[in-house]
Symmetry: D3
Subunit: 279 residues, 6 copies
């Protein structure tokens, strides 16, 4: 079912790498019908995600390629581990290599960074979540990578939940009118979250009915703690802004329900992977 | 002219964020005809690139938005600098904000990292270049960001130059047969580069006519120096692998012509940007 | 902003009517540069919606057509009223006529039917809503037509809210395990609704935390009343199934919050419209 | 062969329902590899059409779904009849259900309405036909549904036949100049039909060579009878406008060759269908 | 109106020439804002067609290019004549040159060849027409080029008229059953033509009602003459097969109504054109 | 692997021929499940190319068609030879026939013309190459047809090599500044060729480093000979302009490395092919 949505991304990535004249090097050097094996190896430790995109890369080029998953999505690996093995036409393996690794490296990087944060907050009850600060075109895959790393997803876009932010509040003339307007306009199937910077703003939110969650933006840990207590479990609390592997446990211990982290999807370094051919 | 190629990427990014029901929050809170101003601000120092994608994001939503560039593509900024100002319907500004910032942050991150490497090798004659290790779907924009940072571009894909790598050599039965086969198959408009790991391999390359460049893969600086001397200016020399801001100057001082760096496009952190609305 | 999403639908509808050889009749009979005026007239009373799709139909054929709205989206008309006037090349008016009227007639039909139900429940506090029983390809426009008629929208698709239905309950082994599983898997930005047929099922729902709404499926009015009382305002109540203009007021008087009606979007008859050319 | 043309419609309908994040409910509640059976049942009597679109809905999600037709396209059913059975992954069945039923319900509704009119004119020699008053995007499927109900198709679009209507006549300066211009411009593979409101107009048509058919627009039955006699079999006669199940037999008995009916495709109510899962 | 249909072809042709990295030469050598003039010149005499595709080529790259038609579609030119002049950014002129000339040269070639045949049959009453033997993807433009050369169009595709050919006759069990079956299946808006090789086959056609035209395939001139006489004006007669500029007048003098010529669209040589820049 | 790139072209060609209502004739006359065999026959001698596009034409309509290649791409045939045989549903064979033959005829025509030139220069060391003067949309296939005929490919587009032509030289202020600018702007993976008309221009080219090839435009044979001697093997020499089967051997004997020929792809006549059904 998933290929239905991933396929346009993989086609675009292949088209970007192959242009219209294809792989000049491979077509010149490798006989069309020659077969080979290959392994995809993680050069560093991390958490794996992206097999569907990688496998589809090769399958779109050549339906007969066999792609075997050695380490499943969501699983950890040590440096040097084989994460997949392939067998089929050597041309296909070489032509698809870079595109497949570009998907895998990027997505494993996100899963790996997520897993590190998730492990750091283990036992606290806080959930690590992503944001909409994603790489243009890849949001769906990046959010799946966050899930593979043990995190949860925030909104998928502007279309599936209401999140009232500072700029909205300015334009709506304050938090309470903003909430009231959103409550009227939004159907019963849409959640409503409000972003606040201060306890006063939080008090305004708590005074209005119909708010499902509050995003506590860029609050230092002591203020965050106070905010969580003030909320008193009446709505979901979310911390966001300046979260790092160094401070995430302290943030979690404030009792906040969700910790959302933009750099998971916009700045996590790629996991270093390589593909090795065997004839 | 460029919008011709960028537009599908921007449309895809907007579609990803807006889905089919659009921006629930903004449509609920902000009057359709209300106008506002906004500024895009760099929260950290860096090198700017991506105005075309950012401006197109807003223009595709609403042709009447005015997007004024304050700091041009390729220029440096200090933390806190305004890089663009906008004016138009408040709804459009809010709805396009995240998509535009996602493009800009990613591309400025690449330009910034490139500029740091370019500055580090200033005066050596070496050119910093990218690779095909790019984010799926964004290669063209990422390669333009590298140029904006003062770098140069390696091949755009498998289709515009021949690069014989280790896996090709294995399948072709050695470097010299590989080069010979490529020379026959490739027309007079295509360049031919060969990747080598050792000086022996380099000697094989130098023994064959028709090779335009050699990629010296993962060589320590002393070996690289020897390789550059062995090549003796008969072809372009390129170093790649394990290049960092710490070692790039030493690599450049070997006399190598080109230094190509994968992480510029797959792991450079995004530049931190924000958009602020004024009513 | 809306044209961004509607344009593919209008292009597809035009392509369907024009094929590749275009409007044989008009091209044969009408000089390319001749201009004319036209009016779009409602032959029956109703509520108007669809001007954006209609105007875009003509604009995609010819940017210079002037389309003036006489009766705005969401407004009522009597039979015989002019709802829009056009001026421009006569060929464009004739070629776009049927496609524009097909959009308008279908969407006005939905707005008209919605308005009738909304008027019938006026004063009760119940909101009329649509469902996912829409015409393939037109959901976004049809849901906008429902809003224009004074109704509200249920989920836009499978992707923006959880609705646990009978088939899910069977597969999950009961209502309570189903709710528990949904609560774990779903982030804090997604609402959770459960469909029930009986009061016993409703009691199961009320025993679980984290449910935002309950869909009371096909319940006769007395049972519905009992269910609403049992729910006691702890979650949103929605009635669905066998709703007609005859019984909708009685349903509303049970105190249910939302009444969702499939036939609004799959079986509302088109509003009868015509376009008249004046030279 | 037909899937070639239907596939874009089904993909669009699935995309509309699934967005990018897919079926939140089913993915949360149902194990990925669990299998189930399902039946599609007609809740009311009618004529079936749409199995190709329904089967393709499931197949695009998951190639391994087995869709077995129980009542073939064009066949009648009683209320309660199973029209198809399915077996495969439970997730696919649930995720595809609404989209498949939306296609089937709409198309069976058209086939059912057509069959009623066709039966009403049985024995008269008149043929029931559709028009271009179709639902935007679905014309091809709707016209196939009309054929499945025993009707015939009018033009598929503006591109495959000439039909001179009132607006054309106004712009061409009269019926006879309009016909003359069309005859010159149109090749020998295109038919020429003219719409008339009066017997005088009909006489003009009959005075011109090269007209293949005449559309007698909105004529009361006695006038229609006179027109058919005046035409005297020299060209095909077609009645259109205000045709209902109540008057269609009377219209047919005038001897007219074709009776075309807009509401078959724009206002026929959907046939009520449901899908039931069995585990 | 026409750009609506031509645009995808022009976009595809530009994409084919520009790839993703664009015009390396022009971007390296010509300043982005420099302007220039250019003329498109016919190096040989011919008939012009294709300005819309050529102008759109430049306009898609840069909306500000001014493209002035010097010799209109359908007009003859002598060798050396300027057929269009352009003014705007020099980069755009250079980048669009080859794509625009490829469209124009191909289409002028078809118009020129058509005009030669049309002139050769002047005064005979026979019309020169094209066939479906067109270049894949360009049929619509090629058929417009035939019209510009004074010819007429045969069917646009398999979808807009019935043409029963030898292979259909074999499968239908003879000409008369084939015609009978087509008459039943085809609505009153579709013409019916039959291809015959012999007078006996022609007699079969004439014995069946409802046939609009007969294609006399590959008949020598004397046989063709006999066939036309046998048909006696009861249906349109069309000659096809082995038509050349040498024999077309003789064919026309048989009295046949239409002469259709495949090589007009699949083998007419391009008209030699060039673009000259002036600074 | 190749179908990945050809498929959009074949889909477009089928859509162009089938429209939305498909093959009216075949659907009316031939039973849906009837099977048949067919052969594709070359009516004239030539060189074959295009089986992938032809086979894909049928396969996109019906996956079960068996297409067997009788004469492989690149091989010569005599008039009357069978080049492929097919078996499957008769409808598919008839519906796909014209589209498949249109691809094959066009591409075999190019391969045949290329082979004639290649044979004419056999033994001289000169290579026949194509240009960018291709049919819009078909460049990739046409360049593959040139290879099948024994020729080589020039640039695939503006994006994969630099070719400085007369218009560039005018705008850059001379040949030497043009070369210097190109050398700076272009990375080490891109070749640089310059077009010259005179020996003086050639001397300018030879005085600049970094030029890989020179295009000697429209030079008479004696001048060409002089130019080749002047170049002295220091760069690749290419002749272009006014090449015909009559003079190509004389051009080749000048010692030029490459002879590029525009009419191979824009004016080579189609090879005459037919498809014959056997039941």
């Amino acid at each position: 079912m998933r290929n239905f949505a991933i396929e346009p991304l993989v086609r675009a990535a292949l088209a970007e790498d192959m242009g219209r004249s294809g792989d000049l090097t491979t077509d010149a050097l490798v006989d069309a019908e020659r077969t080979a094996s290959a392994t995809i190896v993680a050069r560093r430790a991390g958490t794996i995600f992206g097999h569907e995109a990688a496998a589809l890369t090769f399958k779109l080029l050549d339906e007969q390629i066999v792609y075997r998953i050695a380490v499943a999505d969501g699983q950890p690996v040590e440096a040097g581990a084989q994460i997949a093995t392939l067998r089929g036409r050597a041309r296909t393996l070489l032509t698809g290599e870079r595109t497949a690794l570009n998907f895998l490296g990027h997505l494993c990087g996100i899963a790996t960074a997520t897993r590190a944060l998730v492990d750091a907050v283990a036992g606290t009850g806080a959930r690590i979540a992503d944001t909409r600060k994603t790489t243009p075109g890849l949001r769906m895959l990046e959010k799946a990578a966050v899930r593979a790393g043990g995190g949860g997803n925030h909104r998928f876009g502007l279309y599936d939940a209401v999140l009232i932010k500072d700029n909205h509040i300015v334009l709506a003339g304050g938090i309470r009118p903003a909430i009231a307007a959103a409550r009227v306009a939004t159907g019963h199937t849409v959640k409503l979250e409000v972003e606040v910077d201060t306890l006063d703003q939080l008090r305004d939110v708590l005074a209005e009915p119909g708010v499902d969650a509050v995003l506590l933006d860029n609050m230092p840990v002591p203020l965050l703690k106070e905010a969580v207590q003030l909320a008193g479990g009446r709505l979901v609390t979310e911390a966001s802004g300046n979260i790092s592997i160094a401070n995430v446990a302290a943030v979690a211990r404030t009792g906040v329900n969700v910790i959302s982290v933009g750099w998971l999807t916009h700045s996590a370094p790629a996991l270093d992977l390589s593909m090795e051919i065997a004839i």
